[in-house]
Symmetry: C2
Subunit: 426 residues, 2 copies
């Protein structure tokens, strides 16, 4: 254990091997294979799934518990967790007003502390990757590196006239991406946009140009509330997706992750599909702010890649992706009066392989397969909530019953960041 801790503090030293023994492995591979056996990791890469008698530097005895790919939260604002419990029972507009007020006086250290709270909460609940949209992403990137979680971090841009950022948000985003690309394997810097209500045509196209030139992706809020949609129609005569298409954002040249998509016409869904825009749906946030029921079934039916996000802890209000997966499925079922909509397997796909695809990382994460990065989670075989547990019902128990605390181990990039329900090094 001492050696392991040592390695964590000096990450340049090669990462040890790791073995998970006696697990029900929900691989989330193309065939959705569920394998009973062992999982072997070398230098951060999955090298074996199945029967094996190997031993290792670090052994996790799963004792018949479930192993799933690390959960991927595709829309959050980790620095906002410091405001949890202060902004409840408010609709989006008064919510944003109060948030901007609270936010204005924050220091980098405030942001670092709030972000670490979130990263710890996410890791202890089985989240191994997340997509963030905020300013000061350099501070969040350092926190990701220090604690060992995979971050897809988008520095938010918005019109200079209304930002609280020092300097020009687009230049800040460019500087952030240049500073962090290739610097740390856990951090993928991206360019963010607040949304059509805060970004002029010039800001949108400048953000796109930076993302295109630096070969990274965009992450933005899109069609979260009907106020956003009809406000934009009033201002421009066009709905947000129509407008973004009109000004040239949706030519498919830059990968775009759009958060929410709660208010979309079928025609807009087809536009998103044609531009390969990925949607991060945030069921609990849409519910809590009263935004409306997101048309997730319709988006999936149109072929759009949909993943799941918790949004910030001021709207969800916890960062438990297991509860988010479940609620996303339940909300679709009740809105269609049909229990068979968004079944367990589809819901789990959204938080694993579809989420990886949404972040352009399908080749690296999102499933447990030989050659993929070792991002996975071990769930407690003795969980009261997951009983009775068998290979046959494992996916159902994960999706419909498990909670954050059923996670015993979270492995990211081959490292047990969280083991036996304790953080190993931070």
């Amino acid at each position: 254990m001492f050696l392991y801790l040592h390695f964590q503090y000096f990450p340049v030293v090669p990462i040890m091997n790791l073995l998970v023994r006696d697990a029900i492995i929900v691989t989330q591979d193309d065939n959705r294979s569920i394998v009973e056996g062992n999982l072997f990791v070398e230098d951060g890469i999955i090298t074996h799934v199945g029967k094996s008698t190997d031993t290792s530097d670090f052994v996790v005895e799963a004792k018949g518990g479930v192993v799933v790919p690390g959960l991927i939260n595709t829309h959050t604002h980790v620095a906002m967790t410091g405001f949890r419990g202060l902004l409840d029972d408010l609709n989006l507009e008064p919510f944003l007003e109060k948030t901007f007020k609270l936010d204005s006086g924050r220091t980098d250290e405030d942001i670092r502390q709030a972000s670490l709270m979130s990263l710890r909460e996410m890791i202890s609940g089985g989240t191994t990757s997340f997509a963030d949209l905020y300013y000061s992403e350099n501070v969040i990137a350092e926190a990701c590196r220090d604690i060992g979680i995979r971050g897809f971090l988008a520095w938010v841009t918005l019109d200079k006239e209304i930002t609280t950022q020092e300097g020009d948000p687009v230049s800040n985003a460019e500087h952030f991406v240049k500073s962090w690309r290739g610097k740390e394997s856990l951090v993928t810097p991206m360019v963010g946009m607040q949304g059509v209500y805060a970004c002029s045509e010039d800001t949108v196209l400048s953000a796109k140009e930076v993302a295109s030139r630096l070969e990274t992706g965009l992450h933005m809020h899109l069609c979260e509330t009907r106020h956003e949609v009809y406000g934009h129609v009033g201002k421009t005569g066009k709905r947000p997706v129509e407008w973004l298409d009109h000004i040239g954002l949706l030519d498919g040249s830059v990968p775009l992750l759009a958060a929410h998509g709660a208010w979309l016409t079928k025609s807009e869904m087809r536009t998103l599909k044609n531009a390969d825009v990925r949607v991060s749906s945030c069921a609990r946030s849409n519910m809590k702010i009263g935004s409306g029921i997101p048309p997730v079934k319709e988006l999936i039916d149109e072929g759009v890649t949909v993943s799941l996000g918790t949004d910030s802890a001021t709207t969800s209000n916890n960062l438990d992706m297991l509860e988010e997966i479940r609620t996303a499925s339940l909300l679709q079922k009740v809105s269609k009066w049909d229990a068979s909509v968004l079944p367990a397997a589809t819901a789990l796909d959204m938080a694993t392989r579809n989420a990886a695809a949404s972040l352009g990382a399908a080749g690296e994460i999102g499933s447990i397969e030989k050659g993929k990065k070792a991002d996975f989670v071990v769930l407690d075989s003795s969980s009261l909530r997951m009983a009775p547990l068998t290979r046959q019902n494992a996916v159902n128990q994960i999706v419909y019953s498990a909670q954050a605390s059923d996670v015993t181990h979270t492995i990211i990039n081959g490292k047990p960041v969280y083991a036996d329900r304790k953080f190993t090094h931070y």
Copy 2:
């Protein structure tokens, strides 16, 4: 500790005193006072709330954590937890068909084991009382007594021609109530009814007669799905509530707890209000089975007492009342496109004081006050999900973020049944 365990096994020995130190006590009294201080219990009764330097046989150091009244789950079927993960993504009718098939071959020992799974899950998540609707409630009553949870147990009646119970369900219910009333302080025996789709006028009135004569309450499914409502209209020309009123169930002479109430007209709501019928709303179950969004706001606006139930682990699928409270609130907000609907304080009332009132136990449980039975829960002051935690945001953190595993201690009838996240004696 040895002595304590000893007392638990020999409950005739007087119960020791208990002290909770340094807590944020969300009392749920008439003023919704939140008190920072200590809580003292003698012989199962709360004797002091506030500042005190007393010590005790058993001390819980809350270290600034939150204490709330024990959560009350007003609709479940604890014996069904053995089927968790086997009945998902099915609408109610195929769900019931498959359930009846699985259910037909069960022994009392199967029911006991499944019930104990549920009781353990509920206790570890802060539930101290529950209302159950099933057959073989004598087995469940023994499990409640053995593990130490408060059960309001309704033996379900339905028409003789369609029951799988041995003998006449109404006679079975009568026998159960006679056997258990006054026998064990934790168990309140009641009379149940499956619902209008399985109970003829004769069955309903016989069940009512038994409950009336034995001075106990009724617990039934009511207006869960539109199929139930329109099936009954087709059969009788009346909607379920109209029909029950017509045949004389709703004369207010017997307390009635009606589960679901997801499909009700305003006129029916007024009928329920006038008959003092209490509704147990089960948001997650209604969502998962696709039953529809229950009109909780409208029921509250009409003055009906509404509490919350998880329903069984085949529909919710876990028995976490904290997740249930949150989802109930979120579902109302999204259905009204208004974040201010069903705010945190109202949601917590539903799972505590309103639930106690629904069970005719408002004088004994549901709040933390001098003279009340000591049923309460301690939540972890170091919970990642509840941070930052203050007296001001404690209710919000409980309702919108906390989960079962944030519970460190569950005290029922003055006994620490669950302490430091471990069962103390079972």
